[in-house]
């Protein structure tokens, strides 16, 4: 009882300062947390001195977003308002679930930069209409990275990739579906290629009659995997590439660029996006429905969506693709950053081969088929 009283006292005392406290929960790696703490936060504070940012990271991968969801869901279930997260950065899967469950505020129309928030992924995610609820902080593309010294002609299509893997057993790697989203994305790309059902799987409606085609595609993936090295995660694939254990692997482009920038990666490793493409997976900035500081939250996201901020902090500094309208952001970046960003995967490749994730029912069906068939 005494503990509870002390906690309550603390909660009451902290917001008593003059500044508005903005609690920002980041469901992503430490580098994303650092951007908010050292770049976006101070930049925003220079414009809005009355807001104090409190940035918290919740871990990496899908579980990090899941932790944010669990907290907000618990607060909603407890029926107490306001909730203590004002801005959250969550995955596509979790954001779509939160929209579906009515946990988010439809804030995008209130942004000055609302017109820059465009693209298929801000309208629909996993079959849920997310229009108005989400702003991608950045876009992240899954691609195939290769070592030019060992791969003379990088595969331009999945067809070429399967031939190369058959001729070079054990030299291609990815992380399956249990080791991170890049492996999940590769699996989805494989199913799109094998079934030719990209439009149906991403736009719905769900039709169980497609299960046969999906299972057939996954059976082919099981055979393909016999010549593949299954790594223990996104970083594991990059590590195996760097050590020369594999010559080609499925990676996140941002992680590849970041490792190269930090000098941890062979600079010659180059990404390629084979036809018919691989998924792009944005992280969304969202505002919980009962956030205590909604106005400050909206202003902070508006600041992040500004083309200048996107160009300097998101693209140039970290090698991510812009979260908002690239036509407004890319003219603002330097020639060197442009070269680094589009080396191997050009803007045209992205336009042609960036794929969406399937709707949730198909996503779960594919994951289940993978667990049952590939194992």
């Amino acid at each position: 009882m005494l503990m509870r009283a002390l906690v309550l006292l603390l909660v009451l005392v902290v917001p008593a300062s003059a500044a508005t406290r903005l609690n920002v929960a980041i469901g992503a790696d430490v580098n994303v947390v650092e951007v908010h703490k050292t770049l976006l936060g101070p930049g925003f504070k220079a414009q809005t001195p009355d807001v104090e940012l409190n940035v918290v990271g919740t871990g990496t991968g899908e579980p990090a977003s899941r932790a944010i969801y669990t907290k907000i869901r618990a607060q909603a279930d407890a029926g107490r308002a306001p909730w203590d997260i004002d801005v959250a950065l969550v995955s596509m899967a979790v954001a779509s679930q939160m929209v579906k469950e009515g946990l988010l505020l439809r804030y995008v129309p209130r942004l000055k930069n609302a017109a820059l928030v465009k693209g298929a992924e801000v309208k629909e995610a996993f079959g849920v209409n997310v229009d108005g609820y989400v702003v991608p902080m950045f876009q992240n593309q899954i691609a195939i990275a290769y070592n030019p010294a060992r791969v003379a002609a990088p595969p331009k299509s999945f067809d070429e990739l399967t031939k190369w893997v058959a001729a070079n057993p054990g030299k291609f790697g990815y992380n399956g579906i249990k080791g991170g989203v890049s492996g999940v994305g590769f699996t989805m790309g494989w199913v799109y290629w094998k079934t030719g059902l990209y439009k149906q799987l991403t736009q719905g409606p769900f039709d169980r009659g497609r299960e046969g085609a999906i299972r057939e595609a996954i059976t082919a993936l099981r055979d393909f995997n016999r010549n593949v090295l299954i790594t223990n995660g996104n970083a594991g694939t990059l590590d195996a590439l760097n050590r020369g254990e594999i010559a080609m692997g499925v990676v996140w482009i941002d992680q590849l660029v970041a490792w190269k920038n930090e000098g941890r990666m062979d600079p010659s490793i180059t990404p390629v996006l084979p036809a018919p493409g691989l998924p792009i997976y944005p992280l969304y900035l969202v505002v919980p429905r009962e956030a205590a500081s909604k106005d400050a939250a909206v202003r902070y996201i508006d600041y992040i969506a500004t083309p200048e901020v996107q160009a300097k902090a998101i693209v140039e500094r970290f090698g991510w693709y812009p979260g908002v309208d690239p036509d407004k952001v890319l003219p603002l970046i330097s020639a060197k950053s442009r070269e680094l960003l589009f080396k191997g995967v050009s803007a045209e490749d992205l336009a042609r081969y960036s794929r969406q994730m399937p709707i949730k029912e198909y996503h779960d069906l594919i994951a289940l088929a993978y667990e049952e068939i590939v194992r």
Binding site: P63, K178, G180, T231
Partner: protein, 239 residues
């Protein structure tokens, strides 16, 4: 107090394993049966092999330490007690990858890492148990010409059997529940330790119910080990 901190959460998670979207069902256990039966077997096999390897090493070294006390070796043996699980997983992986990449990601590598980590606990328990054996028994055996190996096999181990059984159950249960080492060591495919599956169901799918069912299977496995031990301890009725 025990009810609030232990029984209540346990009951909630067991109850969750029998529901889906609020409705009672056995569906979560069907999912475990269909998708994770192999992993249950794998987890039992890895834990059994890990426990066996730990004891194979610990009995020899602790027997030697009991017969000829040597403090620096005893200290070194207990070092793994203070090394975090994640660090052990990472270190073994870094150590194995350059010269045995296949072993690093295999069940053998996992057994090695689990045994390394649990050697400290085994040493702590075994050295204590062996020291509890009265010196007069050892001297009597020595008088008949028994060496260190013989003393360990024929005197120390049989006389410490109950303590060895307790240690085995503790170590086996700890290996069943291991998460960090399998996470650091494993590949993204093939059979997985059960706790990795719990994390996957919850983390990737937000599927608390199947995760809870896997947890219940984990409790049952650990309880099975404990029951075997209790049965062995039950007083034998003599006519």
């Amino acid at each position: 107090m025990v009810g609030v901190v232990f029984v209540w959460p346990l009951a909630v998670s067991v109850a969750a394993s029998f529901t889906r979207a609020g409705a009672p069902t056995l569906g979560n256990y069907t999912t475990v049966w269909r998708l994770y039966l192999r992993d249950v077997g794998y987890t039992l096999a890895v834990s059994a092999a890990g426990t066996a390897l730990t004891f194979a090493l610990a009995i020899v070294v602790c027997g030697w330490l009991r017969v000829r006390a040597f403090a620096p070796v005893e200290f070194l043996l207990k070092v793994p007690l203070f090394v975090p699980f994640v660090v052990v997983g990472h270190a073994l992986r870094v150590f194995l990858v350059p010269w045995a990449p296949a072993l690093a990601g295999s069940w053998g590598g996992l057994v090695l890492a689990l045994a390394w980590k649990h050697l400290g606990l085994a040493a702590l328990l075994l050295v204590g148990a062996f020291r509890a054996v009265d010196e007069s028994h050892l001297e009597a055996a020595r008088n008949f010409g028994a060496g260190t190996a013989r003393l360990t096999r024929d005197v120390l181990v049989p006389m410490s059997a109950p303590s060895l059984a307790v240690s085995a159950v503790l170590i086996f249960s700890s290996m069943l529940a291991s998460f960090s080492i399998p996470l650091m060591m494993s590949r993204g495919g093939g059979a997985q330790m059960l706790m990795i599956d719990v994390y996957y169901r919850f983390g990737q799918h937000g599927d608390f119910e199947t995760a809870a069912a896997l947890g219940v299977v984990g409790y049952l496995m650990a309880m099975g080990a404990a029951l075997v031990y209790l049965q062995r301890l039950a007083p034998v009725k003599r006519p």
